[in-house]
């Protein structure tokens, strides 16, 4: 897979799974929390992303549970997924550091 910049939703989904396996609705609420309420994934968007991430081998199905007659499928990060997320996080951090240092060149942080 190429190293194109990752979409924010994808990045947040992988981040949600980095703490342990989660089911669909768990990912949605976790992503909302991680993003401080800024990103609320819709079901369709989530499953399109999950389908692609599975195809790319970055996530996999962990297990399935039935709760209140409803199917819950749990997903987990694979080792390539962890690697990719670490790479992406480092890239974003470097970008953020560059932006901050240019906005506050003398090290004056407000």
């Amino acid at each position: 897979m190429g190293m194109r910049a990752m979409q924010e939703a994808t990045f947040l989904i992988l981040t949600a799974l980095a703490g342990g396996s989660q089911h669909g609705y768990g990912i949605i609420t976790d992503v909302e929390q991680i993003s401080d309420g800024h990103v609320r994934l819709r079901a369709g968007t989530l499953y399109t992303a999950l389908d692609r991430l599975r195809d790319d081998g970055l996530i996999d199905v962990d297990r399935e549970e039935i709760v209140d007659n409803r199917l819950r499928r749990y997903y987990r990060l694979t080792p390539p997924g962890q690697k990719r997320l670490a790479h992406e996080a480092a890239r974003l951090q470097a970008n953020a550091v560059a932006a901050m240092s240019r906005l506050h060149p003398a090290g004056v942080m407000r």
Partner: protein
Amino acid sequence: MTDATELERRYRRLLKCFPARYRREHEQEILSVLMAGAAEGQRRPGLAESADLVMSAFFIWWREVTRQPRWRWERRHRRLIARMRVAIGIWLLVVGVILLSDGYWWGVLMVTPAALHFYLAYRLRHAVQS
């Protein structure tokens, strides 16, 4: 009919937009996510939510159609099939041009399937060796 079953019935109808193979694997799961996110007493899917589902179904279909060939036969004959697709694409374009020059405006409609064939040929030629 309670609000919840009414809502579920409407969600199920929306989920029919997805390819059958995908639905077999994910319909129950997506339905649980949709129902978990529904508001108390909600009877119908929101507009934005419905649009999101239809768009997603389109993406899943698109991926299904353009996914690199998995069949052994098509992989083994990748070059031949790519050439056949290019030939079919050209043929469709020629037919389109003939129709247009005869004054049939709908000859333009040949462009879409021709473009699809060219795209699939391109994907085949650049499929990962496996």
